[in-house]
Symmetry: C2
Subunit: 198 residues, 2 copies
DNA sequence: AGCTAATCATAACACTGTTATGTAAGTCAA
DNA sequence: TTGACTTACATAACAGTGTTATGATTAGCT
């Protein structure tokens, strides 16, 4: 990657972290990067290209957050730890998170490359959440369970961002999300245990 | 409400349903309504005012969707029916839903009046979801459970809107959401049953 | 060296929400 | 009816947005 490209991306990332999408205008980026506005078009595919990079950056953070250190811990704890990491990233990189879930720029839609990273992250989630399932569980079933967990936890993050939700503090939100998910995971485990016993 | 005000709002609502926020420019509204752009500012508080009206419109749809017809049915079914209505509204008025959850216009934030309607809808959700809880459950506990249900189901709707989620059809999404929620509700009921038995 | 392709700057285009200015219409009291 | 005052509307402009056409400059390669 060339110098100018790096400088532009750095400027964009800074502005994005500071003020979200509203602070991310082509002119603001070029001004901070010390280049002309045309630089965003010669090095990236316009603003879409910049947003794509930030989208990928966001999903990479999510991907790393799900990294599991203690592979020997009980499956239930491994998942909850992964989710804890997910929630931390969602807090720390809120602008990225909002971009990923279309909460910041209605006009933006991710490119093929960006979608590929997103799918990679989802596959990792499937791997992690499958730990509570029997090994011979069908792929579609594994995906279904991963989706349940993702929907649940993302629902909490998204509601936290909602304007109505001021009566609950951010840290309390994360605790609520984790305890609710624990309940749900236990329910899933119990269901499969019964299934095995039969 | 005056004539011009109604005409403007009608035009805005139509454009919104047709093309979402991106189709909702002040000039487009005024053009369709047959008035000058200044009309949006004399009858509403600019674009914010228009979005506020649509925000309220959206939450009223959600509110109505949770109306329960069969009050004598089992609590579990009453909730699932209410959620089914919620999902239908989310599909039918996708633009409104996205606006409500900040997925369409990053600049918009609802007024006090709009927030009030949102709180009213949430209170209704608390009432409905409390049906599976013992009558003497504390208000904060009731709220916590309502939040669990809302987060779960909204998480599914939000993921459905996500770009990565093309591998699942819309109707399938709703089925997945409902069955996952059923699992979760049963888990909650079981938990409270144990609590009572002790 | 000479040619080609990429990089950059200026300025402009078509859009956005908003507002200052001016005009016309309606309202109400003397 | 007349005069004063408020409201409704229109035109045009302002400051911002993403994008691009036109040139100029630079870099890489034959």
């Amino acid at each position: 990657m060339s110098d100018a490209k790096n400088i532009i991306l750095q400027a964009a990332s800074e502005l994005f972290l500071e003020g979200g999408t509203s602070a991310l205008s082509v002119r603001a980026i070029s001004k901070r990067a010390g280049v002309s506005t045309i630089g965003i078009y010669s090095h990236f595919k316009g603003k879409q290209g910049i947003l794509d990079e930030l989208y990928i950056e966001g999903f990479e953070k999510v991907f790393l957050a799900m990294d599991i250190l203690d592979i020997n811990a009980p499956a239930r704890d491994v998942i909850l730890n992964g989710v804890k990491g997910y929630l931390t990233v969602a807090d720390q990189y809120e602008a990225h998170y909002r971009l990923i879930f279309g909460e910041s720029d209605a006009g933006y839609s991710p490119s093929e490359d960006a979608r590929a990273i997103a799918k990679k992250a989802f596959k990792k989630l499937i791997d992690v959440s499958s730990l509570i399932l029997p090994e011979d569980t069908k792929p579609t079933e594994k995906r279904r369970i991963a989706l349940e967990i993702w929907a649940f936890i993302h629902g909490y993050v998204s509601l936290k961002h909602h304007a109505i939700s001021t009566f609950i503090s951010p840290s309390q939100w994360n605790r609520l999300a984790l305890s609710a998910l624990a309940t749900h995971i236990d329910a899933i485990i119990a269901k499969y245990a019964v299934h095995i016993l039969k």
